[in-house]
């Protein structure tokens, strides 16, 4: 179980996060949703201890996160940063198994774990010894996910794991992620801009607006009982493809269709 108690963060004059308390139940999948700059990545960074919060504290299974235990705590949390953050000088295998060599694992155990994860994420064998620059965007996302899962963490934080993917791969990866989440029974927080994706992957959605929680609930709650006009606007801004057909100006439709990407 992951508890955030009264955390907040300012950068100079900008308040990135107002005082926020949240609980993520063990085994649950939560989607963190909201417009660009609303504080989603900031929230994840505070959870990882990468960014000190101005107030409050983070508790992992009731243990408080402190500067002293932060390295150990990070081994229990897998974090996939916004653009993957794969190391360009390491091969795929080295990227994924980095922590194994750091923690001095036996080679056999390391390679077993790697195969297991490659199977789970359907990463093609041919790519194992390539460098990140030699992979497609979708393959890179899978590798980042493998790396985040490598130490078998109890908490998994995914910051836009499917940004910049074409719809087909995106949908394929969504299905795989859903399977992975449900089979591994981990506490997952996934950041996304996409309402449908949030609804598909997560049982609960946290919608942020300018550093504060606008609404918490299921997709149904948000659609049927929006807490404020912002929630309604946010949901309605994502039109379906069919809706786009009805707009006559093709340039406007192209622009608006991608507005939330």
């Amino acid at each position: 179980m992951l508890n955030l108690e009264n955390i907040s963060k300012r950068f100079g004059d900008t308040v990135a996060l107002h005082a926020t308390s949240l609980t993520f139940k063990s085994g649950s999948t939560t989607a963190l949703l909201g417009p660009s700059g609303c504080g989603k990545s900031t929230l994840l960074r505070i959870i990882m201890g990468l960014l000190p919060s101005d107030t409050g504290a983070v508790y992992l299974d009731n243990e408080k996160l402190t500067p002293e235990n932060v390295l150990k705590m990070r081994h229990r949390m897998g974090y996939m940063i916004q653009d993957g953050g794969l190391f360009p000088h390491l091969t795929i295998r080295q990227n994924v198994c980095l922590m194994a060599s750091h923690l001095n694992w036996e080679l056999e155990k390391t390679s077993d774990r790697f195969s297991e994860l490659a199977k789970l994420t359907h990463l093609p064998q041919a790519s194992f010894d390539r460098f990140p620059s030699e992979l497609s965007g979708g393959q890179r996302q899978r590798v980042s996910l493998m790396r985040a899962l490598f130490l078998d963490p109890t908490i998994v934080l995914l910051d836009e794991p499917m940004g910049a993917l074409d719809p087909l791969i995106r949908s394929e990866l969504q299905h795989e992620l859903q399977l992975i989440f449900s089979s591994l029974g981990k506490t997952v927080i996934v950041v996304t801009h996409d309402i449908a994706e949030a609804g598909f992957l997560a049982s609960e959605i946290v919608l942020l607006k300018a550093g504060a929680i606008a609404q918490i609930g299921t997709l149904r709650d948000l659609v049927k009982h929006p807490s404020e006009p912002f929630v309604e606007d946010f949901i309605n801004a994502q039109r379906s493809p069919l809706e786009s057909l009805e707009i006559t100006n093709p340039i406007a439709s192209a622009g608006q269709g991608r507005a939330e990407q």
Binding site: R45, M48, L50, L71, K72, M73, R74, H75, Y79, I81, Q82, D83, G85, L86, F87, P88, H89, L90, T91, L98, M99, A100, S101, H102, N104, W105, E106, L107, E108, T110, F131, P132, S133, E134, R147
Partner: protein, 524 residues
């Protein structure tokens, strides 16, 4: 035991070992296990023919009595040779009384030879021998034929001949006790001439476009161009009698060597010295050959010398040059990379480090070398227990090391600070310790930048290592400096061409190293 991935102490220690072994001078590596028979005594000489001949005379006469004396020839400038002598890095070298008075003692109250001798003993514990017999001073010279035509034999006669044209060397025009004082003393009332390259003044004298030039009184040109040395009838020019300076302790360490040095007292007069210089500069003999001839003809002492060979010289220079570059570069790598890391991690220290190194960079080579001699000699004696370290390649290596720091420190610093933030965040998020992050992520990502800094440093060092010749440490600078001194283009090319080739090779080698070391993923 189950197999585990190699930790990073293994590669680090291997790297350090390779670097340390690579740091040793090649003479140590080649002589490993052999008994060391380094000569006990060292004679130094300044970078002009006459002085080198005198150095060779000492070396050869000692050899005839089976005393091993090494000759560290062609050291640039009085300050460095003298520094060597007072720090005991060398034992003896030929000097001129005038130079001792004006450049070393710098004391107007010390005038006579005896006063100079006493002062040197009291202040520096150095013994000055009696004059060797010739004097190398400034003098005014005219072509014998022209002087005859005009009936000039003395400098004082120049005053009434205002139509004579002068061509004077740069140094003579600029010296405090040069042209200005002399023309005033003799009442030569003409506008101050511009200083020329000294080689040019001879050409002008020869062609007749100049009537009077300044010369050194033992110059071989006096013989070859048939120059009349005008009598200094007002005794304006100070005495520049040649002597040997040696350390007082030498009298106890090897009385026989001292006796041999003293055997040159009063042995060589001006005519003979001019002749010896001409044998080198006109007949293109090596100084050692000329010294050997002199010992045999004038002192009935026969010594064998190594016959000089161009191939062996180039080989020797190459080895010495590579030594200088290699040792300084490896020291630079070991020190500069950690400095760069510290600079990147601690902004304040970083600015201080980069600033200091930038300032060190601006110290002129010669000044830096002079500053380094005494501490190096002290270090050698007191901490390592060897003598002569100050006159060895070490100060040059240290100077090169200092000059090469900047590119490596700066590139390490930039390489580390240019790493994209998301990669650093990734590394942190995985739970890597600071060391592991540095070793596994940051340094490898900065590697291309670091390597190109090392490449720059290496190429700079190949050029700067010519500095080594200034203090007789050899290298490609040796033939360059000698060639300039003797205006021998072939000799200059013997140093310049290999130095250029070496710079290209270093560039090539580093490109190969980059290709091997930089992971494919980091190449664009």
């Amino acid at each position: 035991m189950k197999r585990r991935a190699a930790g990073y102490w293994m590669p680090i220690s291997i790297l350090l070992m390779v670097l340390l072994v690579g740091f040793l001078p090649s003479s140590w590596i080649l002589n490993f296990g052999k008994s060391q028979s380094s000569p006990e005594f060292k004679v130094g000489s300044k970078a002009f023919t006459e002085n080198v001949i005198l150095g060779d005379l000492v070396k050869l006469i000692a050899k005839s009595e089976n005393i091993a004396v090494e000759h560290q020839a062609e050291i640039q400038g009085t300050q460095i040779v003298f520094q060597y002598l007072v720090t005991d890095a060398i034992d003896v070298y030929p000097e001129y009384i005038g130079t001792i008075r004006y450049e070393i003692l710098k004391d107007r109250n010390i005038v006579t030879e005896e006063e100079v001798r006493t002062a040197m003993l009291e202040r520096f514990n150095l013994v000055m021998t009696k004059p060797i017999g010739f004097e190398n001073t400034y003098a005014m010279g005219m072509l014998e034929s022209r002087a005859d035509e005009l009936g000039i034999t003395k400098v004082s006669q120049l005053a009434s001949r205002v139509n004579l044209s002068y061509s004077l060397g740069q140094e003579f025009v600029e010296r405090e006790d040069g042209w200005e004082k002399m023309s005033a003393t003799y009442g030569i009332d003409i506008p101050k001439p511009n200083g020329n390259d000294h080689a040019l003044t001879y050409k002008q004298l020869e062609s007749g476009s100049a009537d009077v030039i300044d010369i050194y009184s033992t110059d071989s040109k006096i013989q070859t161009l048939d120059i009349r040395v005008l009598e200094d009838d007002l005794n304006f020019f100070p005495s520049y009698d040649a002597v040997f300076l040696y350390r007082k302790e030498l009298e106890e360490e090897n009385p026989q060597l001292v006796k041999l040095i003293k055997s040159f007292e009063g042995k060589i007069d001006n005519r003979q010295m001019i002749n010896l210089n001409a044998r080198c500069e006109v007949d293109n003999k090596f100084e050692a050959e000329v010294a050997q001839e002199f010992l045999s003809d004038q002192m009935q002492i026969d010594v064998e010398i190594e016959t000089p060979s161009i191939v062996r010289d180039i080989f020797k220079n190459t080895v010495q040059h590579l030594d200088l570059v290699r040792m300084s570069l490896i020291a630079c790598i070991i020190v500069a990379i950690p400095l760069g890391v510290i600079a990147a991690k601690q902004k304040l220290i970083g600015q201080a480090v980069l600033g200091t190194i930038g300032v060190l960079q601006t110290i002129p080579g010669i000044a830096l070398l002079v500053m380094l001699i005494a501490p190096t000699e002290w270090f050698g004696r007191n901490l390592v227990g060897t003598k002569g370290l100050g006159a060895s390649v070490i100060p040059v290596v240290i100077a090169l090391f200092i000059y090469s720091l900047l590119p490596v420190v700066r590139n390490t610093y930039t390489g580390l600070t240019m790493i994209p933030g998301n990669l650093l965040e990734s590394a942190d998020a995985l739970g890597l310790t600071r060391w592991a992050k540095l070793w596994r992520i940051e340094l490898p990502l900065a590697l291309p930048s670091i390597l190109s800094g090392i490449k720059t440093a290496a190429i700079i060092n190949v050029g700067f290592a010519c500095l080594g010749a200034m203090i007789g440490a050899g290298g490609f600078g040796q033939p360059i400096f000698s060639g300039v001194r003797l205006s021998d283009t072939n000799l200059i090319l013997q140093g310049a061409i290999p130095a250029a080739v070496l710079a290209l090779m270093v560039q090539g080698v580093f490109e190969i190293i980059e290709r091997i070391l930089v992971p494919k993923g980091l190449k664009a």
